[in-house]
């Protein structure tokens, strides 16, 4: 029997790894992967709660978050490719024509 809290703590750990990835990484694609980790952590928490309440509406939410994540991935990678075409780099430190 695995208590709900364990799932939530796992989700919290994955979320934190995602957040630290976004903050410390200087590679755009890694930043983007870390954001996916954050969304997955949120999904895991949602499904754990849905299990707890025996209520499938949490599942609907996860289903929709996945669609949103796919849409975000498409737009994000398009932006990265447009950038790469102009600048030939995916290192975040190279993107400071403005101050940040």
């Amino acid at each position: 029997m695995v208590p709900l809290e364990y799932y939530l703590i796992l989700s919290g750990i994955i979320f934190t790894i995602g957040v630290s990835g976004v903050v410390i990484s200087r590679n755009i694609i890694i930043v983007f992967m870390s954001i996916e980790l954050m969304l997955n952590a949120a999904n895991l928490a949602l499904i754990s709660f849905a299990r707890q309440f025996a209520d499938p509406s949490g599942h609907v939410f996860v289903f929709i978050v996945m669609a949103v994540a796919a849409a975000e991935a498409a737009v994000g990678l398009a932006i990265i490719i447009a950038l790469f075409r102009n600048k030939d780099s995916i290192n975040l430190d190279d993107f400071n024509v403005m101050k940040w």
């Binding site: 976004v22 709660f49 950038l83 102009n86 403005m98």
Partner: protein, 493 residues
């Protein structure tokens, strides 16, 4: 099995009222139609897309007005309580639509000047508006999240629509990374709010009996606060705003600073004032700090800017701080005042951006303060208009900016709480400081001689329409708030 499906359908009503959904249907339908029409139009007939876009926005505004007059105290829950249409959300939608309308007017010539593909542009503006409308009417956190994502995805693309410009690329990238990061926080928060209450509905106040775990609710509220804080650009989640606003093409910056900001506030109002009332005292403290930081830091940083566009970006941060006062006050009057302020800000800010676009849309021009030199002498009328917009942004009578600030501050003082009075005093001091950087533009415009020969400004029809609407709005909202009495009688709670 078929039997059961039949009974489900019979016992279940989505309660859809197409009349009240008309604004959304018009906007979404036109966004689709634009994409279908666009490939068939060549040359001059491409203007059709632009005209259809603004006509559809006007049609949506008219339909909001007719819903408003025919059903004054509308309270309708549709799609199994996932969508709420009431007078408050209708007014929010009107604010978004006015922002989009002005954006379309200022865009048509500027896009040609900057050589941007226009069909997709209008379609994305309409999709973003549709997303904002979903946010304002969301009765469920799922709808709120999707609306926010539709709006954000369109904005990421609009920010980078000037594909060959490195600045636009960078703006788009930063906006995307920060926006997706914020969405991660928002989702994690929503998951915990769901865990704390067992529901994602935000139609009613969450009753304390429903709260299964206060800890989860607080974690959830904190995460949602971070997520939405990024979207409204509250300090310390503001760092993307200056770069994204400066790097994007100017008409998109005008759009971003108006509607999407108001939409993020709509989400703020719904989640924190309606749904999370049980946490009121904690939320007030956090919002107080956010509000004080946001207006002060936004103002201080705005003083040091040499680029008008970047200055307006910082000014938009500090204005978000003023609106947050309405959230701290937590009263019905304050929600109304916050909405009124957002309307005023939309009108006057896009007005200021319109003049900025006129200055930028000349040969070899940019958005620095020096580009404004001599404009006041060459075009005194335009100079006076810009002066009025700047006075309004600084918050002086007889303009919209003053009336908006006055209502927000009054609602805060009426609560009688000392901490709010301190916040209002801080806001007044900040407004006085802001005079410096707003009037700097005016000084440069009238007093400084241009270094080179003055290059003429091109007056296009769309730009003039936008100027007339935003100037009319700025003056009317400031001088005759009585005619907006219907507005002032509408409260969220």
């Amino acid at each position: 099995m078929q039997e059961s499906v039949k009974t489900i359908l019979e016992n279940f009503s989505l309660n859809i009222d197409l009349v009240t959904l008309m604004p959304e249907i018009i906007i979404c339908g036109m966004a689709l139609l634009t994409m279908i029409l666009e490939p068939f139009l060549k040359g001059d007939s491409r203007k059709v897309v632009m005209h259809l876009t603004w006509l559809s926005i006007v049609a949506a505004l008219i339909s909001i007005y007719s819903i408003w007059t025919s059903q004054p105290n509308l309270q309708s829950l549709q799609f199994a309580d996932a969508y709420r249409i009431d007078s408050y959300s209708l007014l929010f939608k009107a604010v978004f639509l006015i922002g989009s309308l002005l954006t379309v007017f200022i865009s048509s010539n500027f896009l040609k000047f900057k050589n941007v593909p226009d069909g997709e542009f209008y379609s994305l503006i309409l999709f973003a508006t549709f997303g904002m409308m979903n946010m304002a009417s969301a009765g469920d956190l799922i709808v709120l999240f999707i609306g926010l994502e539709i709006m954000s995805l369109c904005l990421y693309v609009l920010a980078g629509i000037l594909r060959r410009s490195v600045y636009a690329n960078e703006a788009s990238l930063k906006y995307f990374l920060m926006g997706a990061f914020a969405s991660g926080f928002l989702m994690f928060g929503i998951a915990f709010i769901y865990g704390a209450t067992g529901t994602t509905s935000i139609v009613d106040v969450i009753q304390s009996s429903e709260i299964l775990s206060n800890t989860y609710l607080i974690i959830g509220a904190a995460m949602v606060m971070i997520g939405l804080g990024f979207k409204v650009g509250a300090v310390p989640f503001h760092m993307w705003i200056p770069d994204v606003y400066t790097g994007s093409i100017t008409n998109v910056t005008a759009f971003m600073s108006a509607g999407p900001k108001a939409a993020a506030f709509a989400a703020f109002f719904q989640v924190f004032i309606v749904a999370l009332r049980p946490l009121q005292s904690e939320i007030e403290v956090v919002l107080w700090i956010l509000s004080a930081l946001t207006m002060t830091l936004g103002n201080i940083l705005a003083i040091t800017q040499n680029d008008v566009k970047r200055m307006l970006a910082y000014s938009s941060i500090s204005h978000a701080g003023y609106v947050l006062i309405a959230l701290v006050a937590f009263t019905p009057a304050a929600t109304t005042a916050g909405l009124y302020y957002l309307l005023c800000y939309t009108v006057m800010n896009i007005g200021a951006f319109t003049v900025l676009i006129m200055v930028e849309a000349r040969e070899n021009s940019d958005t620095n303060f020096s580009s404004f030199a001599g404009m006041g002498r060459r075009y005194p009328f335009l100079g006076i208009l810009l002066t009025i917009f700047m006075i309004s942004l600084a918050g002086f009578p007889p303009t919209a900016g003053f009336m908006g600030k006055f209502l927000v501050f009054k609602s805060a003082i009426d609560t009688g709480s000392t901490s709010l009075i301190v916040l209002v005093v801080l806001a007044v001091v900040n407004s006085l400081v802001s005079v410096y950087y707003y009037l700097r533009v005016v000084v440069v415009m009238f007093m400084v001689e241009p270094e080179l020969e003055y290059r003429p400004i091109n007056f296009a029809t769309g730009i003039i329409a936008a100027l007339v609407i935003s100037m009319g709005g700025t003056l009317l909202l400031g001088i005759y708030p009585q005619i907006f009495a219907f507005f002032l009688n509408t409260a969220l709670i």
